[in-house]
């Protein structure tokens, strides 16, 4: 990644908060080696069926400047139509796990993570694939959500912006998942760049034609963007709204861990809408409301996601922010 400063005098401002991003043009290498995975969670069926389809007939993934390679991340979970066999694959890509030496007694997903890392990584090395699309479904009403690590990833923010403007059949909010300095544990973190697509609501183990159509539309839009980018198209600076993860909220639980209250009917399906201080979050089976007592509005997402009961997450609290993203262009030889 090379930063070209147009007016030279801006050098001294770099690194301060007042930098005018519109004055920058950031150059990236083209994205030539691209992979698409669909079954990181084996019961999120839009991706499972699209990846299987593309393995048989990859023409849809071809563009002038590259061809994306489809692959199945977790075939054993897919066969059983479960999220995972031994542990969540999409939490298994920390360097520590990928480089651990324990062989033989390993959990299936750790073994798979290491294999996938060898194929499309290794994470952090110069040989990694350029870009990975990771397809997911959620039981939450999140629309066609684009999951990015952070807005510092300018190339992916441009991609997200392009998708928002070009795929308009569903809401396409941007979810920024990086919390602090924590290393990403997600599958797409082994490539140079990654984007996770989170389409819902769709029950686990079910294919809905509408969700599948949105997923397919998003993937095609991402591939179109990469093709334009690879051809040297300059993408100007812009401002964009995105939701940044603040914290995760668990269900109210009894001392023995049992859920004592469920998502309030007023919050259900309201992903990305503001939750204001005093608004109800949960409801007990006796009909008592539990309200949000924070000081400022938050924007809940992953509300009532089926897979997150065991992770002790009733919803994720987000803040809505506007970001300024500098112009980018591919560095063509």
């Amino acid at each position: 990644m090379v930063t070209l400063r147009r007016p030279l005098m801006l050098i001294c401002l770099a690194g301060t908060e007042q930098v005018d991003q519109t004055l920058f043009l950031i150059m990236f290498k083209p994205l030539k080696r691209v992979v698409v995975t669909g079954d990181t969670h084996g019961n999120e069926m839009s991706g499972v069926y699209l990846a299987k389809h593309w393995l048989k007939n990859p023409s849809e993934l071809q563009r002038e400047t590259f061809s994306a390679t489809p692959f199945l991340g977790n075939p054993r979970a897919t066969e059983k139509i479960v999220r995972y066999v031994d542990q969540d694959l999409n939490r298994s890509f920390k360097t520590e796990i990928l480089t651990s030496s324990s062989e033989g007694d390993e959990l299936y997903e750790i073994k798979r993570a290491k294999e996938i890392n060898q194929l499309y990584g290794p994470k952090g090395s110069t040989q990694t694939y350029d870009f990975m699309i990771d397809m997911h479904n959620t039981t939450s009403n999140m629309g066609a959500c684009l999951i990015v690590d952070s807005t510092e990833n300018h190339l992916i923010m441009h991609m997200a912006n392009y998708v928002q403007k070009n795929y308009t059949l569903a809401k396409t909010p941007i979810y920024l998942y990086k919390l602090g300095d924590e290393e990403s544990y997600a599958i797409d973190s082994i490539c140079k760049y990654g984007l996770a697509l989170e389409v819902g609501p769709q029950p686990q183990g079910v294919v809905r034609a509408d969700a599948l159509k949105h997923m397919r539309g998003l993937v095609n839009s991402v591939l179109d963007f990469i093709d334009l980018f690879n051809k040297g198209t300059a993408f100007p600076a812009f401002e964009i709204e995105a939701y940044k993860l603040l914290a995760r909220e668990d269900y109210p639980r009894s001392s023995d861990g049992e859920i004592m209250a469920i998502i309030h009917p007023h919050l259900q399906d309201k992903d990305f809408d503001p939750l204001n201080p005093g608004d109800p979050m949960f409801q007990t089976l006796d009909g008592k409301d539990i309200i949000y007592e924070g000081d400022t509005p938050v924007y809940p997402t992953f509300i009532n996601e089926g897979a997150y009961y065991e992770k002790k997450i009733a919803f994720a609290k987000m803040e809505k922010l506007t970001f300024s993203i500098p112009a980018i262009q591919a560095q063509t030889e």
């Binding site: 069926y49 699209l50 299987k52 389809h53 139509i81 039981t139 609501p201 029950p203 686990q204 183990g205 079910v206 294919v207 809905r208 034609a209 509408d210 599948l212 159509k213 049992e258 859920i259 469920i262 998502i263 309030h264 009917p265 259900q268 409801q283 089976l285 006796d286 009532n304 996601e305 089926g306 897979a307 009961y309 065991e310």
Partner: protein
């Protein structure tokens, strides 16, 4: 006041159970039954005992439909009389236990009535499942519940069929009521769906209480959807699904499907249409648990059922 012919007097319904967790990932029933096990005031009525019961606790703990096999398919004589062995399937063992507590199925000792609480990923609304079209008591109850819930709809699915009827958990009782509320993803509890399920139980228990108190229920008729046939997904030779429920059919449970209407859509955009001769009413459209049962939806036809006048025999005895 007594218009009922003496032949239509039925024994009072004193022993009632409410089952949840027959499928461990259908959470409305699981949470309601757990709640009622702690605090049963809401489900108690005069003149009867109502017992909430978690039927498949291991599946509930795992949040899975079942451990070894579908509990809601093993209440046939063969499984219920199977000799206990070390490697006996967990659900068969449970079925025998449930049968010993609430049955034995088909005997005089069996519970009078069991409600079994289920959820579906299909857009079936608040559905009641009827097993026996000649069960006047249950038809009368469904008539009562439908009226009480109106104008909200409460469709009745009749599974009385020579091949398609299955040996349900609730079938150990003299009268059995399947409660099927959706859409709700498995492993998720939605407040709205839970509330709809709760209303059905409230009205069902109210009906039993009225019946036991001697109230006479005049002849009635209800419209039911009678199961006709299962329809599988289109599959290739390897058994893999090659086309999905068409978006025009998705969420259209109980709506008319006419010859020529789209049913499935494949990934190349080809549409497969319904090629039957007459209108059917699909239900269990795109139910997650039925992919493995090779069922994309079931076809039903509308039928009107009539129940005779009923009255509890208790007053005459006292």
């Amino acid at each position: 006041m007594a218009f009922c012919h003496v032949d239509h007097e039925l024994a009072p319904v004193r022993r009632v159970a409410i089952f949840g967790g027959t499928h461990g990932n259908e959470l409305s029933g699981v949470l309601l039954v757990k709640h009622w096990l702690e605090n049963s005031a809401e489900i108690q009525r005069v003149g009867m005992v109502v017992k909430p019961f978690l039927t498949n606790p291991r599946a509930v703990q795992k949040c899975a439909r079942y451990i070894d096999c579908d509990l809601n398919r093993v209440f046939d004589t063969e499984h219920l009389s199977e000799q206990e062995t070390e490697d006996m399937l967990y659900e068969v063992k449970r079925a025998q236990k449930i049968n010993s507590i609430f049955g034995p199925k088909g005997s005089d000792d069996a519970f009078d009535l069991i409600f079994d609480l289920h959820n579906t990923t299909s857009n079936m609304g608040s559905t009641l499942i009827l097993e026996d079209l000649n069960d006047d008591f249950t038809v009368q109850m469904f008539h009562y519940i439908k009226l009480a819930l109106s104008p909200a709809s409460c469709p009745v699915l009749l599974i009385d069929h020579s091949n398609l009827k299955y040996a349900t958990t609730r079938s150990v009782a003299k009268h059995s009521v399947g409660v099927e509320v959706g859409p709700q993803s498995h492993g998720v509890v939605r407040a709205d769906i839970l509330d709809n399920m709760r209303r059905i139980i409230k009205h069902g228990l109210d009906f039993v209480e009225l019946f036991n108190s001697g109230k006479e229920f005049p002849p009635c008729s209800i419209e039911v959807y009678k199961i006709q046939e299962k329809v599988d997904y289109p599959r290739n030779e390897a058994g893999e699904i090659v086309a999905f429920v068409h978006h025009h059919l998705q969420d259209q449970d109980w709506q008319a499907l006419k010859p020529g209407d789209p049913v499935f859509l494949d990934l190349d955009g080809n549409v497969i249409v319904y090629d039957g001769d007459y209108t059917v009413y699909p239900t269990f459209v795109n139910e997650a648990a039925y992919y493995e049962k090779k069922q994309a939806f079931i076809k039903t036809v509308k039928v009107t059922l009539t129940a005779k006048c009923i009255r509890s025999s208790v007053l005459n005895q006292e």
